[in-house]
């Protein structure tokens, strides 16, 4: 991480309105390559909306999103994905009638290549191997051929995480990956993230679990009611009165 | 000029009837995600019932009308909902669509086979006396249709916006799960919506029978017009179905007068396509976004 190098993800003055409701107002965030950025804030502060605007699920009302120096504002989700941005979801979004393995293969197949190539190329050994290794990494090998809908909540969250990793992305946006998981799984997931970060993956993590965020992330951005109210190292955030107020105040 | 006004009134008159069928259609969609392919037949059944009560049994009009509404509400509202919708709703949109298609065929061919394939004349409900306003000639029947339909729709509007039950219906239409969590008995409400729809189609039937004649297959055209109206007007708004129905009626009347029969259908369809391409959520509808 050299100082002065262009940020990997550059969100500038992003705003999103729904009719008269302002979900995001003038939010600017940068993510450096190899970072582990935390994104926190009380419920309804716009964190998921920010992810949605970055990944193309929603169109921003104002502002710009740039990835690796290129403007990706307003691109459809599939284009954003192919540039190397992947994400998980707060509410489980899997392909329930497909098996675990198929879900992972699905996450890999559209990353590269053309439509036509995909019709004719039927061999998937490379992707299959990668998927099996990933399943091993996540300790999900025993459910490889189960339907996604048959999995427990914790397993589904891990699958979602796996799907985000399958395309070998450059940045991974995790939306409350720890929500609803038991402490053992949380610990192993935190280890996975640390390990992957060490290998060079960039992460942005939305979390409510303060313990996880403070220990995992080296830098944290705080949103409240659609605005960025603080940014800095965990210790600074911890001491920030405004942040405390946003969470616990009136 | 006189022509235009006369045509416009005639158009609004028949449009108001289409609007009632369209509103019922939209209500069913909103509260229960049912696309009722048998909506046209839901107008035909009460029309035949009215023939039975009013023409064959010669009951006084009011009694016949009430009996028709009752029969319609019970058969096409309660029975259809309990027998068909309850089981099929959880399986998604399509099985219910096919079932309503089957139902429309069943009603249509049963009436043809067991009652009569012939068209039954229906006496005018309102007098067909002409009314003169200067050079403009209107028929009493047209004005009464508009008035009657207007009153019914007005009452419906009051019901939905001013009563607890109406609010519950709106709640279910907007978010079924949330409504259920808030204590609304969703299933019972959907049953009431079906019964309300059947009542609306019964009223539409009584008004349209003198105009269309009563025949087993008129449901096809009426159902289609209810669809057009709902789509053009906006599927997620009652107001849209109302205005859509009026629009369909007016366009139909004007094009019958000015455009040769060859192109009449095409003209209506061009409008439909224009709406679908330019404002697919309907002229008065609201866009649906993803997240």
């Amino acid at each position: 991480m050299t100082p002065g190098a262009a940020p990997l993800l550059d969100v500038r003055d992003l705003s999103k309105h729904f009719y008269r409701l302002s979900a995001l107002t003038g939010v600017s965030v940068t993510v450096e390559p190899g970072e582990l950025l935390g994104l926190i804030g009380p419920n309804g502060s716009g964190k998921t909306t920010l992810f949605n605007c970055v990944t193309g699920v929603l169109q921003p009302s104002l502002g710009r999103v740039a990835f690796k120096g290129e403007d990706i504002t307003g691109l459809t989700p599939d284009h954003v994905y192919r540039r190397g941005v992947s994400r998980t979801f707060q509410l489980i979004q899997l392909f329930s009638e497909m098996t675990v393995l198929e879900n992972l293969l699905m996450a890999a197949q559209e990353r590269r290549g053309t439509m036509l190539r995909r019709l004719f190329r039927r061999a998937e050994s490379e992707e299959r191997e990668r998927a099996l290794r990933l399943l091993d990494f996540l300790k999900l090998t025993h459910v490889t051929n189960n339907l996604a809908s048959d999995l427990s909540y914790g397993q589904q969250k891990l699958l979602d995480f796996g799907m985000a990793l399958m395309p070998e992305p450059e940045i991974v946006l995790l939306d409350e990956p720890m929500a609803g998981l038991n402490p053992t799984i949380i610990r192993s997931l935190v280890e996975h993230i640390r390990e992957l970060n060490a290998r060079g993956y960039t992460f942005v993590v939305i979390e409510h679990n303060m313990e996880v965020v403070m220990s995992l992330c080296r830098r944290i951005v705080v949103l409240s009611q659609g605005e960025k109210i603080a940014e800095g190292a965990p210790s600074e955030i911890h001491a920030n009165a405004r942040v405390m107020d946003a969470y616990f105040g009136g | 000029m006189t022509d235009v006004v006369q045509l416009f009134v005639a158009g609004v008159s028949i449009g108001a009837i289409y609007a009632m069928a369209a509103i019922g259609f939209v209500l069913l969609w909103q509260t229960s995600n049912t696309i009722n392919f048998a909506q046209g037949e839901f107008v035909v059944v009460p029309a035949f019932a009215m023939v039975l009560f009013f023409v064959v049994w010669k009951l006084p009009f009011a009694a016949a009308f009430l009996a028709t509404v009752l029969v319609s509400t019970v058969l096409l509202g309660l029975v259809v909902k309990e027998a068909l919708v309850n089981r099929l709703l959880k399986m998604g949109v399509l099985p219910l669509v096919i079932a309503t298609i089957g139902l429309s065929l069943l009603i249509r061919y049963s009436l043809q086979q067991f009652w009569t394939p012939l068209a039954l004349p229906f006496p005018a409900v309102f007098s067909r006396e002409p009314i003169r306003l200067g050079t403009i000639i209107l028929s009493w029947e047209e004005l009464m249709n508009v008035l009657f339909a207007g009153v019914v729709i007005g009452l419906l509007h009051l019901f939905i916006t001013r009563t607890k039950l109406g609010w519950a219906m709106q709640a279910v239409a907007q978010n079924r799960n949330l409504a259920s969590v808030l204590g609304i008995r969703v299933s019972r409400l959907v049953t009431m919506t079906f019964m309300l729809n059947a009542a609306l189609t019964a009223v539409a039937a009584v008004l349209i029978a003198p105009i269309y004649l009563v025949k087993y297959d008129i449901g096809v055209a009426i159902g289609l017009k209810a669809f057009y109206a709902a789509i053009i007007g906006g599927f997620n708004q009652i107001r849209g179905a109302l205005l859509g129905g009026l629009l369909v009626g007016v366009v139909e009347t004007f094009s019958a007068a000015y455009i040769s029969s060859h192109f009449r259908d095409a003209f209506a369809l061009v409008i439909l396509i224009a709406v679908l391409l330019l404002k697919p959520e309907g002229l008065w509808g609201e866009k649906e976004e993803w997240a």
């Binding site: 193309g56 994400r87 392909f95 039927r122 | 669509v97 096919i98 259908d265 369809l269 679908l276």
Partner: protein, 316 residues
């Protein structure tokens, strides 16, 4: 493994049928095969990709009229078929565009409107299509001195094309495209977020489904020998919809069962004098009530009882 045996048995029966069946029944079987091709197309668009299409009959009409119009000019049947399929494919792409903007009931209306427009165009473009009078004496294919004019010969010709359609559909649906279609059907938003170009795949879902309809339409014309606009109305599209839903949406075996039931059932009931439509519609309602996922459930039960394997097709 058992499913392949069932398939072989099916093919065997189909090959032997002309020897046993008399003319009318052979005609019904030929018609069923044609409808099977059409149902496979709609199953791809609606069952696998989840895109509602109420204009399948319009796509069919391109195939029928291409063959019917070109045949008198000495154009070989196969060329007519290719022309029809290309037209159908092209219009399938066109219909795909509204599918990108609108969903479900709106898409139903757009496709419904297209069906009605196509019908009106066919009826009014008399110089090309003969209008309400239709086109008669549609010639059956011939390869030099080998003519498929006889009912038996044409039956085998249709069977050949059916095999091509079934094989190609299987190939497509077990490819990555098939998986992408299923992803769109399951969770469109998630599919987009894993890189599925909704635009491209939805367009393809419509276009390929339409192309198959074109093939079916082309084979339909010489089978019935006379076509008119009335063969391609909204009712016909709804008939295909029923085949696909009653057979089993999104299942490969679905169209087989659906086409057979929707074609053969009314014939079997024909003896009941005018009641048959009533019994048929009652049967439709009952089938939906008790087997909403399609009659393929019965098929699965039978195969399971015989010790069969996984659902077809799967890609892992």
């Amino acid at each position: 493994m058992r499913r392949w045996l069932a398939l072989a048995a099916g093919v065997g029966i189909c090959a032997l049928a002309p020897l046993v069946l008399e003319q009318y029944k052979l005609y019904i079987l030929s018609l069923t095969l044609v409808y099977l091709i059409l149902a496979i197309g709609l199953n791809l668009t609606l069952g696998y990709a989840g895109q509602i299409s109420l204009c399948h009959a319009a796509f069919m009409s391109f195939g029928s009229y291409a063959v019917a119009v070109l045949a008198p000019y000495g154009v070989p049947f196969e060329i007519g078929l290719i022309v029809g399929v290309t037209l159908a494919f092209g219009w399938g792409l066109v219909l795909g565009f509204p599918a990108l903007k609108v969903k479900h009931h709106y898409l139903a209306m757009v496709t419904l409107a297209f069906n009605i427009i196509a019908f009106l165009v066919i009826r009014n473009w008399e110089s090309l299509t003969g209008g309400s009078y239709g086109i008669s004496n549609i010639a059956r294919p011939a390869w030099g001195r080998l003519s498929f004019q006889s009912d038996r010969a044409y039956y085998f010709y249709i069977l050949g094309w059916t095999a091509v359609v079934v094989a190609s559909a299987y190939w497509i649906l077990t490819s990555r495209w098939g998986r992408a279609f299923r992803a769109i059907r399951e969770n469109e938003m998630r599919a987009a977020v894993v890189g599925v170009s909704l635009r491209n795949y939805k367009l393809m879902a419509f276009a390929i489904g339409a192309a198959y309809a074109g093939v079916g339409g082309a084979l339909f014309a010489p089978l019935v020998a006379y076509i008119d606009p009335g063969a391609f109305t909204l009712d016909r599209s709804i008939q295909f919809l029923m085949m696909v839903v009653m057979g089993g949406l999104g299942r490969f075996e679905g169209p087989f069962i659906g086409a057979a039931v929707v074609t053969i059932l009314p014939e079997a009931l024909r003896g009941s004098e005018g009641l048959y439509l009533i019994i048929y519609s009652l049967a439709v309602i009952l089938m939906m009530l008790f087997m909403p996922k399609g009659l393929v459930g019965i098929w699965d039960g039978a195969v399971g009882w015989l010790g069969g394997g996984k659902e077809v097709p799967s890609t892992s």
